[in-house]
């Protein structure tokens, strides 16, 4: 298609009303995604990954205040009436959820649930939708799809159910697929299969994908570009290779060091990042990572640092990249 971005997010901000008062869950998120591109969102729990995804889907609670702009093919999505958004969801933007055990309605057959978006958005007959659902279930690798199309979700394993939710999300051939931790709840062996399946389908259908994960390994293997989020802001973004080659933000570096490694000597302690994620309800004024950063300075706490370009389309939201990316700073 053209070079124009399929999805363009500018200065996205989300304020949620929590029991502890308003919380700025997401601020200043910018990215653009072209057709066929894949983007990874990585970060700890509560860093704003899922809120960003829900904002794209228009599924935030009604009390949430959204600012900035989300454009799909040039059309603004923020402020779109719900009826119009319903026509996009499941049709042009789809989402896969974390928990396959609860993402399917226990009262309906899987065939019905996969066929449902088709009937809804494309207006095909029930019989055609059923056939298409069988084909989809077959494509996502559900054994005996035609025989099991009338079975209920409880009759499947977690991995099979996630295959079914993938079939549901892809039923209408969406332009954008948002996968929110699609393998977190699954066995490691199944994780790889599901990710390969999703990657294969994304390539086959020329979709764009936003993959959300807290697992750097998953991100490294599955997406072209990545964004690291912390405390509701994007602290580092760039091509996956470039970011892994030269990590600029102390948080990204900490995240990388904290991953468990195969072959490490027995008794070797896992590295951790000291401290905890700040409460979104009372974020510090300056850099959100300041309280846990090893190279923090007074000016880090003064104001939210601007994004510094450290390479081609590789940005880091840190004012101390000279230190963090200097000798011995990157990886470890």
């Amino acid at each position: 298609m053209s070079d124009a971005p399929l999805i363009e997010v500018k200065d996205l901000g989300v304020r949620l009303n929590t029991s502890r008062g308003p919380a700025q869950a997401v601020r200043g998120v910018n990215f653009a995604l072209r057709r066929g591109e894949t983007l990874g969102l990585v970060g700890e729990s509560g860093c704003g990954k899922s809120v960003t995804a829900l904002a794209l889907m228009g599924l935030l609670p009604e009390s949430a205040v959204i600012s900035g702009s989300i454009r799909l093919d040039g059309a603004e999505l923020i402020g779109l009436p719900d009826a119009a958004y319903c026509k996009l969801r499941g049709n042009r933007i789809s989402m896969i959820f974390q928990e396959p055990m609860t993402a399917l309605n226990p009262m309906h057959t899987i065939g019905h649930q996969v066929a449902e978006p088709l009937r809804r958005h494309t207006g095909v007959s029930a019989a055609e939708a059923q056939l298409e659902a069988i084909a989809l279930l077959d494509r996502v690798g559900l054994p005996d799809a035609a025989k099991r199309v009338d079975a209920y979700p409880h009759q499947f394993s977690g991995g099979q159910r996630q295959r079914i939710t993938v079939a549901m999300a892809l039923a209408c051939q969406p332009d954008v697929l948002i996968a929110d931790e699609p393998t977190t709840a699954l066995d490691v062996t199944i994780q790889g299969q599901i990710l390969d399946l999703i990657a294969g389908l994304v390539e086959e259908r020329g979709m764009s994908m936003i993959l959300i994960s807290h697992d750097l390994g998953v991100i490294a293997e599955n997406v072209d570009r990545m964004m690291v989020m912390y405390g509701g802001t994007v602290v580092e973004s760039g091509a996956t290779d470039a970011v892994f080659a030269r990590m600029g933000h102390p948080y990204t570096q900490g995240l990388f060091r904290a991953r468990p490694r195969l072959g490490a000597r027995k008794g070797t302690r896992l590295k951790t990042i000291a401290g905890t994620v700040p409460e979104l309800a009372d974020l510090p004024a300056g850099c959100t990572f300041a309280d846990r950063c090893a190279i923090v300075e007074a000016r880090c706490r003064a104001a939210l640092p601007a994004v510094v370009d450290v390479g081609a389309a590789h940005g880091v939201r840190c004012i101390r990249t000279d230190v963090s990316m200097g000798a011995g700073g990157s990886s470890a």
Binding site: D82, M107, R120, D138, A146, R148, T165, A169
Partner: protein
Amino acid sequence: MSAPLTASAATSAIAPGARPVTGFWRRALRHRSFVLGAVLSLIVLGAALLSLVWTPWSATDIDIASKLRPPSAAHWLGTDVLGRDIVSLLLVGARSTIMVGVIAVGIGLSFGVCLGLIAAARKGWTEELIMRMSDFTFAFPAVLSAIMLAAVAGPGMVTSITAIGIFQIPTFVRVTRGSANAIWAREFVLAARAAGKGSFRITIEHVLPNILSILIVQATIQFALAILAEAALSYLGLGTQPPQPSWGRMLNDAQTLLFQSPMLAVYPGAAIAIAVLGLNLLGDGLRDLLDPRLARER
């Protein structure tokens, strides 16, 4: 994929136990409490239907000369203080009982479930308004609202049905809203929204089927309560009016003769117990049978 598809599609038609409809009756007949409940409920229903075409004696004819007779070939369960045949009274009484129960629960169910579903789907001030209104209604006991209604419309069956029905609405609102809210919080509802469904469709396709079993069980309990409420209202003279027989009236007529003819209280009491027990067992059985997750175990 089309070639293997058609082959396995043919075999899927005879795959056992996968469809809820085909296997339903087979499973139902194996479910003990469902069968027992169904039998007891059918006895009550059968008695009511039978009374439309035949009763051993007229249920309203008074024959003082043969009052308080013990069971005999002519009067199988004897006669009451006015000489009416007990069997005939029980048969016709079943009719009143079922009518009051069905209509009152129907009123409570239809209004209560609609309001409860709206409250859960809309949230915000709509939910507040519905819940506060139902609290308000709930604050008046059925007896009190029946007295108020009777003062306006006059006592009678319609008054008691309406009062019991209105009294049941808040219970259904609460049960519906509570269980619907739990469903709304489930991830498959989020997934359904992500698939582009509006709140009306989600309510009909996802919320309602998932709370149906709870509503069925609640409806059977409410049916039993309606029968008891009708008896209470009849005692106060606000329910079924003489000469129309009802189990509640029989029970209260028997109260003054409790030491003289205790069996007069036992018969309608047993009838009420059979109806209430049957309905509860039926509701329990239906709850199990309607849930596909429990389908395998039974």
